[in-house]
Symmetry: C2
Subunit: 247 residues, 2 copies
């Protein structure tokens, strides 16, 4: 069943006007008719099955609310040093499928890629469209949001319950339990952030600044992962721990 | 340090001729000189630090053997229904970073993509180059190999200790412990295979055939993953379990 998001607040058996985006996709592209059903998530992340009641007027009606548990039980933010080329698009698409709630791109000391100031808005706009589309496809109840900060110092204004740095040097030294230790100390609803360096890695100065502010370095297994693979490993690990193991 | 593979069998303090590929990359592209060091993995998956002794004659010499534990303690095969576009390239690159040993692409009942017979060799050639390059970059001791089979029936000729199907229907029904159950029953050195459907999914006939031959369906968490994301989740899960947790 198709899965869409709306900014409306909905309840069961409520008629509503579908947005132009949904109308375009569900009515024009997929040629759906009156009585055809779809899933819709409202502004409060509540999921309803709905059906088209009058396709000419773009009218639909919610039927039953569905209580599905598709979101990670922890609130995960990933912070990615600006990667090269289109890797940012790949990261946000896959991270959305894997359950992230917030993706922050950050310019770091050793970032080779740079986002020019006058292009940041356009890039974020595009990336936030990708998260919406990926959230629809993976049938999530939340659309992650993508933002941008100029430096790691700005990150220190944000509060998180658990703060991690995926650090290659930890992996090289054979460290392989700090991630699990952190998971063991994490409770449902806690917020977790993990930072990933760009292709060039994170500078020692940046690592020190983060560690001074409560961040903990951790390895992601013994193999060297590319900058765009590491966050996907991390999110899959979190899901393995909190969706599969803790049940 | 750069990391390369050779088909030679090496021991410590042994002079050898580097291959044209390595010479091109290490000497011509990176402009390395006599005395510059690199890592080289021999045909027995043994890793040595080596140094260039005579760049004109492409001569090098092994120094110390390094006993690094970078390979997954289990022998993992992934079988992927033919995906669309360049997704096969992304899968083999990322799966190599994540520790896979063998990647099999298979034409399934509902595969939209098809590999024409006269193009299979060229495609495999290209994909096997990608695994080599990704294995170098992630500093592995093994290069995974990529192969192709015409149907799921051919897969049944292969023996594995643990046989899984990543099955969306399991995920939708809220099943989320069969993967962990399988991990718990898996010992070091065991062989594990997991099959992933293409965009269209696996047909019920195929699932039945596999289940009749000892395959077990399992979910990969509550979110719907794309065909190219599911194997990366699976491999990250395996690494979390066998590299990080079981230590």
């Amino acid at each position: 069943m198709q899965h869409y998001f709306t900014n409306l607040k909905l309840s069961e058996n409520e008629e509503f006007i579908i947005s132009d985006d949904i109308a375009h996709h569900f009515l024009s592209v997929l040629r759906s008719k009156n009585g055809d059903k779809f899933e819709i998530v409202d502004q409060n992340h509540n999921l309803f099955v709905a059906e088209i009641t009058n396709s000419d007027d773009k009218l639909a009606k919610t039927l039953k609310q569905r209580h599905n548990e598709v979101e990670l039980p922890v609130d995960v933010t990933i912070v990615c040093g600006l990667p090269k080329k289109e890797k940012s698009e790949m990261i946000v698409q896959k991270a959305t499928e894997l359950g992230v709630n917030h993706i922050i791109f950050v310019s770091t000391d050793w970032s080779i890629a740079q986002w020019k100031n006058n292009k940041v808005d356009r890039k974020l706009n595009r990336l936030n469209k990708i998260t919406r589309s990926a959230a629809e496809q993976s049938h999530r109840n939340r659309i992650p949001y993508v933002s941008y900060i100029n430096s790691i110092s700005e990150l220190l204004n944000n509060n998180f319950d658990h703060k991690l740095i995926a650090y290659e040097e930890s992996a090289k030294k054979g460290e392989h339990s700090d991630l699990i230790k952190s998971f063991k100390n994490t409770n449902e609803k806690d917020s977790v952030v993990c930072l990933f360096g760009p292709e060039g890695g994170i500078s020692p100065a940046e690592v020190n600044k983060l560690v001074d502010n409560g961040y903990v370095t951790c390895g992601l297994g013994p193999r060297i992962l590319r900058t765009e693979t590491a966050p996907l490993y991390f999110l899959s690990s979190i899901s393995t721990w909190f969706d599969l193991l803790k049940v």
